[in-house]
């Protein structure tokens, strides 16, 4: 991106008052800026949940993780973020009226690919919905019941059951059974409850 393109993008993102659009536009600008240095990022956390559910969950910080390479040195991170007008660092910056965190290597166990959104300033990768769902179900019950995570999971199941998001139920089940999660009964219970509330069959009831 040229300096002028970055300037215009930052003006647009700064003026954006919709929290979800603001995050995704910024994710687009940040992803493109890192991609120009051969670095691939993926959106995780609340912004990923928001991308799939429009769930009114996200707060004022955008979380991205490294896809490849698995490590980027501090100087490179500061140079890339500095070029788009960010302040702070070396893992968290402020830019265009929000916080941007570039964390370590992405944690993903799903075999399904990342989603990709053709956003205004370049493609944005988003962690797969199966990863998001199983992670939220785990957080909703361990270490103790946590309602915000359950609400996220319920909304994600609802949009998937309504056919608004493509979610591989078999893959979610496989993830939930993994030793890293061991959360299958909780996943099946939550999916069954939401399916019942929507008047739809649960994908886990044959």
């Amino acid at each position: 991106m040229t300096e002028e393109q970055i300037r215009r993008a930052l003006a647009d993102i700064t003026a954006e008052a919709d929290p979800t659009l603001k995050h995704l536009k910024m994710a687009s600008l940040v992803s493109t800026s890192f991609r120009e240095r051969g670095i691939e990022l993926v959106v995780v956390g609340g912004s990923a949940i928001e991308f799939y559910t429009e769930g009114a969950y996200v707060s004022g910080d955008l979380d991205l993780c490294l896809v490849s390479p698995s490590h980027v040195d501090i100087r490179t991170r500061q140079e890339v973020m500095g070029r788009i007008g960010a302040t702070g660092g070396p893992r968290s910056w402020q830019a265009a009226g929000q916080f941007v965190d570039v964390l370590g290597e992405v944690e993903t166990l799903a075999r399904t690919p990342f989603d990709e959104l053709q956003a205004p300033y370049g493609p944005v990768r988003v962690i797969s919905p199966e990863d998001v769902l199983v992670e939220r179900v785990l957080i909703s019950v361990y270490p103790r019941p946590y309602e915000p995570a359950a609400a996220c999971a319920r909304k994600l199941v609802a949009v998937a059951l309504e056919g608004l998001v493509e979610l591989d139920w078999r893959e979610a089940r496989r993830l939930a059974e993994l030793p890293e999660y061991r959360i299958l009964p909780a996943l099946e219970k939550l999916v069954s409850e939401v399916a019942h509330e929507l008047g739809k069959p649960s994908p886990y009831h044959s």
């Binding site: 991308f51 707060s59 004022g60 910080d61 609400a151 609802a158």
Partner: protein, 54 residues
């Protein structure tokens, strides 16, 4: 997915989620509260639109 297609689906996604959970589910508190509330005038982020405003 194109940006336009994603934008078109916003209202339907919000409405589907609203059938099984409260409309706004932003956490009331979190580890970054201090910096968020400083930037967003006491809140943890910008206000959300209602489903009907999409």
């Amino acid at each position: 997915m194109s940006w336009e297609d994603w934008l078109k689906g916003r209202r339907a996604r919000r409405q589907a989620g609203n059938r099984v959970a409260p409309e706004i589910i932003r956490r009331p508190a979190g580890s970054n509260d201090r910096r968020l509330r400083k930037l967003f005038q006491g809140e943890r982020g910008l206000p959300f639109k209602k489903a009907e405003d999409f």
